[in-house]
């Protein structure tokens, strides 16, 4: 009987969420034993104890109601007027919140008790103004939103190119993240494990940080910047901070290798920080003359689309960035980000 009820529900377009609004949205993935990240372990209708009457009422209401709009995949928040230097921190926090709220809020991605790994770019021994690392205020805002959504623990971490103790400090990310309540440990060399990269074309196995793989959620908080080798550092490139080993080997076939890695890690949410961008001499930067203020943050569930949008901020076509083109070609996402009808907000 329950099976037939489920079949009816599917016939009339009922999802678990429409049966019970308190159930998570379509993109929600239960924490803990709900299955590997990126593969939704959704609760079936049959496991909910619905009475025949409740089901009939709900089904009728659902049939009468207009079809629910698909959850947005991409949101772009821009500052109407760029804040002066002393107001950038506040602008960054507001933009981050506006972008995530436009996707439906952090509650769409994080639920009570989740362990969330926030992966900013802390790669370099550079100050926030130099735009080589993610803006600390964006990171702090994401951490706060995670806790407000009920996260049990939020960890902020990266495997930097520069010595971690310097880049964590200089970037301001450690201080901002800890102030927001996150843990911000240095990555421990012993916790990288060689893992099979299923479907990998350039990399079949690699040393990946176990803490990131074991977290219930991965939120990629990247900065948009020019890159001397692969045109741009965006979200997918930022995932290199989740791995160890001889990372320079990635650069031999970077487009394909990064698509392999992005297909393996599949962050639930990508936040692209373009409050400031590094327009030249990336990835290291250091010269303030190379920094441009954009006052923009994009957030999305399609990592290729987020990066495709990010490429345009650097004056590039999405296809100019090898890993964006490769991710698009293999169906990780779409580089035609406008096709997702991004929600645009101005603050």
């Amino acid at each position: 009987m329950l099976r037939s009820l489920e079949a009816i529900g599917q016939t009339v377009g009922l999802t678990d969420e429409s049966v019970c609004p308190t159930l998570p949205s379509k993109d929600f993935h239960p924490c803990g034993a709900g299955g590997p990240r990126g593969r939704p372990a959704r609760q079936s209708i049959s496991s909910r104890l619905l009475t025949r009457r409740q089901f009939a009422i709900t089904a009728a209401a659902a049939a009468a109601a207009p079809a629910p709009a698909a959850a947005p995949s991409l949101a772009i928040a821009r500052a109407k007027v760029l804040a002066p230097p002393e107001g950038i921190a506040e602008e960054a926090r507001r933009l981050a919140r506006a972008a995530v709220d436009s996707l439906g809020g952090m509650g769409r991605f994080v639920s009570r008790g989740c362990v969330v790994w926030v992966k900013p770019n802390i790669g370099w021994d550079r100050r926030p103004e130099q735009a080589a690392c993610s803006c600390p205020d964006v990171v702090a805002a994401i951490v706060q939103m995670c806790y407000q959504a009920g996260a049990g623990k939020v960890i902020v971490g990266d495997n930097p190119c520069a010595p971690a103790e310097r880049s964590y400090m200089r970037s301001g990310i450690r201080a901002a993240a800890e102030k927001a309540g996150a843990q911000c440990p240095y990555m421990d060399d012993r916790k990288f494990r060689k893992m099979a990269i299923r479907g990998g074309r350039a990399i079949r196995e690699w040393e990946v940080y176990t803490g990131i793989v074991e977290a219930d959620r991965l939120i990629n908080v990247a900065i948009a910047k020019q890159h001397s080798l692969c045109a741009a550092t965006l979200g997918m490139k930022n995932l290199m901070g989740a791995i160890g080993g001889d990372r320079n080997r990635f650069h031999q076939n970077i487009g394909v290798a990064l698509a392999d890695l992005a297909g393996f890690l599949r962050p639930q949410l990508v936040v692209l920080d373009a409050v400031r961008i590094l327009a030249a001499n990336g990835p290291t930067g250091g010269n303030l003359s190379d920094v441009r203020r954009k006052g923009t943050i994009a957030a999305g569930v399609d990592q290729v689309a987020v990066d495709a949008f990010g490429a345009t901020l650097l004056g590039l076509a999405p296809g100019d960035v090898p890993y964006v083109a490769e991710g698009n070609a293999r169906g990780l996402g779409t580089m035609n980000f406008e096709s997702l009808a991004p929600i645009r907000v101005e603050i």
């Binding site: 021994d125 190119c161 200089r170 550092t233 990835p283 290291t284 303030l288």
Partner: protein, 171 residues
């Protein structure tokens, strides 16, 4: 079995004798030449913070992702050292690019048009917290991190000191 063990031993001994590929094992003469270019810090009121570091084929360990652009232009080795002054932390990077043309080529590729020219080395320029110049085969990059500001003078003094050590456009 014994033959295999002997062969393995020979390989290990040879590997130990050959010049290393890691920056830490730069040929002694090259390392000494680069070390002589690093200031002791007194000229700009600073002290070295930690030991100097050297990179060659392992440049990616210092600028992963950025290293290839240097290798493509003939990069030989990098000497890196950090200093602390009363008001700033200063980072000195001296890239040995093998030839003056390579150093200039790399320098030009990274030059930002909005910077202020300084009369140090060839085409020296500075912006807030940074100063770059070339001298012969060397491309020199200095960065200053300062909460209080006022690091520009220390940067210029450090740059002049290094330029003096390099001398007049050696190859």
């Amino acid at each position: 079995m014994i033959r295999a063990m002997r062969a393995l031993l020979c390989i290990l001994v040879l590997a130990a004798l050959l010049p290393g590929q890691q920056g830490a094992a730069l040929p002694r003469a090259l390392r000494a030449r680069l070390a002589a270019l690093l200031p002791d810090g007194k000229a700009f009121g600073g002290k070295p913070a930690g030991a100097a570091a050297y990179y060659s084929t392992d440049l990616y360990k210092y600028i992963d992702g950025g290293a290839e652009a240097y290798h493509q232009r003939g990069f030989v080795a990098l000497a890196h050292r950090e200093y602390k002054t009363a008001s700033a932390e200063i980072t000195v990077d001296i890239y040995d690019m093998g030839r003056a043309a390579n150093a200039l080529d790399t320098f030009r590729a990274e030059r930002s048009p909005d910077c202020r020219a300084v009369a140090i080395g060839a085409g020296g320029y500075a912006a807030e917290g940074m100063l770059n110049f070339t001298g012969g085969r060397y491309y020199v990059k200095l960065l200053a991190f300062s909460q209080a500001g006022g690091a520009a003078a220390a940067l210029e003094t450090a740059a002049r000191n290094i330029s003096g050590r390099i001398g007049p456009a050696p190859e």
